[in-house]
């Protein structure tokens, strides 16, 4: 490799015009050598399992005995079984809590933090807001299981303001378990959105804010006219990442409710895990996983287009 590289590099820029085809080929070769190891890991531990998942999804297999091909039966199941459909619907409902609410709050908070005079308070609140993002999702679920429990802070607060009648085991309530799980996701994603949007605000030219100030623009109109358009890309990244975390939520749901009570908080990630590892219905689990993948792509690709467009 070294000799080829030396020759390619030694030609250098001055003769680039003359030796272009050979040089291009050599630099392609070098490039592929640089790329190969990373791509090998990716292919073996991501692409190959993905291909296997596609294959599994057309078989009926319990993980031990011989698999029997069943055509599209697993996919028909995924689209007709009410429990499976519920799990998909739940994950879409979670987008409200994982994406919309944190993003709206983060926009406000980032705009407020920009205004903040005190450097120390700004850094401190940014750090504290980001904490939920860096602890394991499973631990976050555990913290909130305690918050939402019968003796937890949520009920304690309700009782303190005289609303003790509303106190309940939140994660055990058929109606409210899913929004409660959503609050956990909101807690995790809020700081992520704030930090990302703040870094975006830092890139907006300060003179635009100055101009807005001189023109007498208030907080809200500045937010709408300056901050929001300037943050297009960052908002795009926020939406993409949080939507994926909502559709493919596993850690939080698995540690807080395991999909219960009943199937009220079931999401495809946890359902696939149960089907594949406890019920040994590998084919069906694979079909569900494939549908999850397609769903994520179907949601993400249009979002990418919207936010990537130059304005």
């Amino acid at each position: 490799m070294t000799s080829a590289v030396t020759a390619g590099g030694a030609l250098g820029a001055p003769r680039a015009g003359l030796a272009k085809p050979r040089k291009a080929r050599r630099s392609s070769l070098v490039g592929w050598l640089f790329l190969a190891p990373a791509f090998a890991f990716y292919a073996v531990f991501v692409l190959y399992p993905l291909a296997m998942a596609i294959q599994y999804s057309f078989y009926d297999w319990n993980g031990i005995s011989v698999a029997t091909p069943v055509g599209f039966d697993n996919y028909v199941r995924v689209f007709t079984d009410p429990k499976l459909l519920t799990s998909v619907g739940n994950s879409f409902f979670l987008i409200i809590f994982f994406t919309l609410l944190p993003l709206a709050a983060a926009l406000l908070i980032a705009a407020l933090l920009r205004e903040l005079r005190s450097k120390f308070l700004g850094t401190a609140s940014r750090t504290l807001l980001f904490l939920p993002q860096i602890i394991p999702g499973a631990a976050a679920a555990l913290a909130w299981t305690w918050m939402f429990s019968q003796d937890g802070v949520v009920n304690q607060a309700l009782r303190a303001v005289g609303l003790g009648g509303l106190a309940r085991a939140w994660l055990g309530d058929f109606q409210l378990a899913l929004p409660s799980v959503g609050v956990i996701g909101m807690w995790i994603n809020l700081g992520f959105c704030v930090v990302l949007l703040l870094s975006g605000i830092g890139k907006i030219d300060g003179s635009i804010y100055e101009a807005a100030r001189i023109d007498g623009s208030g907080f809200w109109s500045t937010l709408r006219a300056v901050t929001l358009p300037g943050l297009r890309q960052e908002i795009g990244v926020c939406v993409t990442m949080t939507v994926i975390s909502a559709l493919a939520s596993f850690d939080v749901v698995f540690m807080s409710t395991q999909g219960g009570p009943g199937y009220s908080t079931m999401v495809p990630g946890v359902f696939g895990y149960q089907l594949g590892f406890t019920e040994s219905r590998v084919g069906l689990a694979a079909a569900l996983a494939m549908m999850l993948t397609v769903l994520v792509l179907v949601v993400i690709i249009p979002l990418q287009r919207i936010f990537a467009r130059e304005d």
């Binding site: 592929w32 406000l108 807001l129 394991p136 499973a138 913290a143 003796d151 802070v153 208030g218």
Partner: protein, 380 residues
């Protein structure tokens, strides 16, 4: 923007509420963890008689010591390997012209959106067939593969922002691709690599699903992966459960507070420096002129030629799209804020970056005119 007092007050309240929302669950855990064992704590309450030894007990029952070692081994296996492979690949995609790179990039992009839940079942059977279940090396390899899309993408973004003139200048000086990579690109990429390493560390440490599925023995998992087993055993003992969970979270929080802040500081400082430069474009801290080059498209190339010696260089701004916080490689002659560490250096010696040896990458090739003046600058 005009902010009146009531708006400012409302903003402060809102910010305080958000911060409180962020730390309340952790405070509640801490308050429960400090209550006497065997009692049933309520929500959040001031620990009138804090039982610090709860943490020692939880340390033992949650077997934190083996978990720390296990997680550390995994991190040591995953982070250096992933960072090395991703830097190589990122350089190929961002800095070199490789045929077929677009296709590869698209395939990698797929990995960015692919939920890990989608591949976990076949991955289990694959690792079982290869006899790599319950093996940390197996889990580490899976994680390296899983992190590749993001890591490569991250490094590619960095290498795309490095001006191409840098490579050209190195080629003029006779550096081949590998030396160019090792001596010029790599030192420049260190800030990007180090912040990526922090992310990779956090993700490895917080790995849950893969650890749960691929490793049976909880003490061989990551700390997050062991949480599930711990909860199963102590779900009724609220005090110990919270103490243990806090211990399991503590390392990531510590790393975050120590490293993430350190990462952020140069960013904010640089921004401040940038703002100052706008107000005060002339810096007189560089008597030797050419020795003091730094990222500046405002400084005309002439200033950097020997003719320009004696003229104080105009300190400009960091080029657009250049990653902030990038130190001038090697020797620290000039910092990115335009101040020179060695103002007493007698002769301006400015060389185009080359791989001829360490210490050659002193000057920041800034404008497009840089490499044209390369030869002049090499022999002042």
């Amino acid at each position: 923007m005009r902010v009146n007092r009531s708006e400012r007050f409302g903003g402060g309240v809102m910010l305080a509420a958000a911060v409180l929302f962020s730390i309340l669950p952790l405070l509640s855990m801490a308050s429960a963890a400090l209550q006497p064992q065997g009692t049933i704590p309520v929500g959040i309450q001031w620990p009138s008689d804090p039982q610090w030894h709860n943490f020692i007990d939880a340390w033992n029952v949650a077997s934190i010591t083996p978990l720390l070692i296990s997680s550390a081994i995994l991190v040591l296996l995953v982070v250096p390997l992933a960072a090395f492979l991703a830097t190589l690949a990122g350089y190929a995609l961002g800095g070199l012209k490789v045929r077929g790179a677009t296709v590869l990039l698209l395939v990698l992009m797929l990995g960015l959106t692919l939920p890990k839940e989608a591949t976990i079942i076949p991955l289990y059977y694959q690792m079982r067939a290869w006899g790599m279940l319950n093996s940390r090396v197996g889990l580490a390899m899976v994680l390296v593969g899983t992190f590749m899309p993001f890591a490569v993408y991250w490094m590619r973004a960095h290498f795309m922002s490095v001006p191409g003139e840098l490579t050209e200048a190195a080629q003029i000086d006779g550096a081949n691709s590998w030396r160019n990579f090792v001596h010029i690109q790599l030192p420049l990429a260190l800030p990007a690599i180090s912040s990526m390493c922090i992310l990779l560390f956090l993700w490895t440490w917080n790995t849950f699903l893969q650890a749960l599925v691929l490793i049976d023995d909880p003490t061989k998992r990551t700390m997050a992966g062991a949480l599930q087993n711990f909860v199963g055993q102590y779900s009724t003992d609220v005090v110990l459960l919270n103490a243990g969970a806090l211990l399991i979270m503590a390392p990531t929080i510590l790393v975050f507070l120590l490293l993430f802040r350190a990462q952020n500081v140069p960013l904010t400082r640089q921004n401040a420096a940038k703002r100052r430069e706008v107000e005060k474009p002339l810096a007189v801290s560089c008597p030797g002129s050419a020795d003091c080059l730094q990222g500046g498209n405002a400084s005309p190339p002439a200033l950097r030629s020997p003719l320009g010696a004696g003229h104080p260089p105009r300190v400009g701004q960091v080029p657009d799209g250049f990653p902030t916080g990038v130190p001038v490689p090697d020797s620290g002659v000039c910092r990115s804020d335009g101040r020179c560490r060695r103002p007493g250096a007698r002769r301006p010696r400015c060389r185009a970056p080359s791989a001829a040896g360490p210490g050659m990458t002193r000057c920041w090739p800034t404008g497009p005119g840089m490499h044209r003046h390369g030869s002049a600058m090499r022999s002042p």
